[in-house]
Assembly symmetry: C3
Homo-oligomer: 191 residues x 3
Amino acid sequence: MNNPSPANLSQVLTFVESAATIAFALSGLLEAARKRLDAVGVCIVAGVAAFGGGTLRDILLDRRPFFWAEHAEWLWVLLALCVAAMIFMRASHFAPTERAMQWPDAAGLGLFTASGTQIALHGDAPAIVAVLMGVITAVFGGVLRDIVCNEIPSAFHDHRPYAICAFIGGWVLVGANALGMGDPRFVIPRQ
Amino acid sequence: MNNPSPANLSQVLTFVESAATIAFALSGLLEAARKRLDAVGVCIVAGVAAFGGGTLRDILLDRRPFFWAEHAEWLWVLLALCVAAMIFMRASHFAPTERAMQWPDAAGLGLFTASGTQIALHGDAPAIVAVLMGVITAVFGGVLRDIVCNEIPSAFHDHRPYAICAFIGGWVLVGANALGMGDPRFVIPRQ
Amino acid sequence: MNNPSPANLSQVLTFVESAATIAFALSGLLEAARKRLDAVGVCIVAGVAAFGGGTLRDILLDRRPFFWAEHAEWLWVLLALCVAAMIFMRASHFAPTERAMQWPDAAGLGLFTASGTQIALHGDAPAIVAVLMGVITAVFGGVLRDIVCNEIPSAFHDHRPYAICAFIGGWVLVGANALGMGDPRFVIPRQ
């Protein structure tokens, strides 16, 4: 089997993480717009959606510094994204539907599971705990976003199997690691 | 006075903790069913109800690993419980009432206070902080469960004195410890 | 320029922090009364409002012990405040309006930003992270209070620029520190 080199894999994961972070930030922006929040609400909800899952995972695993404290430029990216979105939405009278939120939500969900599981495995957590950390990373950005916006988290009642996919995907990753494919030592990026 | 031996006391507490964890998991299952959550929601709400209070206490006291990370078999127990409950509820068209939730809730509340207070005393916290940790362990499983389900926590407005009982019970424990009854060194189990 | 001596500055900040803590506790009391919570709810909501922002900041910065664990007398102050408020409200049939909550809320918001930013700067956080910690200290007491009471946080949709003021104020403080005004070493008090 022709494994990608660790450095490449790490770069791929960094790209995937960045895409997932932006996807979740967008889902937060859309929910904030639907709830007609003001500028403060838009920024905090987008931030909670983007960084909430990874931050909760790091609190549970007692890892510091957080992704957004180590790579503080991401906070600027998020702020720029929020300002741009607010200008655009005001200009275009854009009214996002609940349906519009599903795509960024689903994309982010899948993308975060792998990194969350890897990080927990790297810290020698038991397999089930590692998978749970992957699911928490993937799901709790959206869950915290919905809690903050005073809704039942959509992940809990939309009968879409995102979190179950994340759960299964986590186990696939655990299996792959047990078989010696993928070396957690080289997987440094994290949300 | 004929104190039980420390080993026995520790075993009793382990049993009590296990019973309380399952009682809270059931209260989460019932609330999830009432809110018609899907499989993902049922599992997460049951998990939050069962482990939320103790996890929050451990975050506040900066204790690691968590109960469910150290005893990962409990995560399997919870998962099995959720799957069994979903099959049973689908089969029997079981519609839990708000009243049905009170019993597991009350049982778990009382049972967790002692262990939470003991753990904080063991960490040399001031008496009031230790009692507060007992109350947090006991109450915040249910509080987080209700927040996640988008309700005002029932502990905050049901005019039932569970939390006040927990508060008083915590002080009784503090007093007992001050009088030399019960040795915190031997009380190892925790949620 | 005739700077106040560090000791004086520290005393001023302690006073400011105490005033802000009480202001936030009052905002929690008023919201609990509006929601007709019972004694347990009143105490927990007031506590979450008073200590929530600083506690969240300390969890994120991994600082221990918390303000309320180190200065446990504050928990007694809070408890006394809650009991007094409940007696007074029952006696006077006091029905707080949403408007009544704005003053303590706004006061606490402004007062906490400085200390939160200072503490993070003291821990060598990047400027944007320090400002964010100031905003979190200032805003999340109220945000957690509203989440616990099952409302969209008022800071997110009231179109009042409190949090933006906190954000700007945080940057002013960062600038002042960069210019050598104010020595973070002497700023010990914290929420």
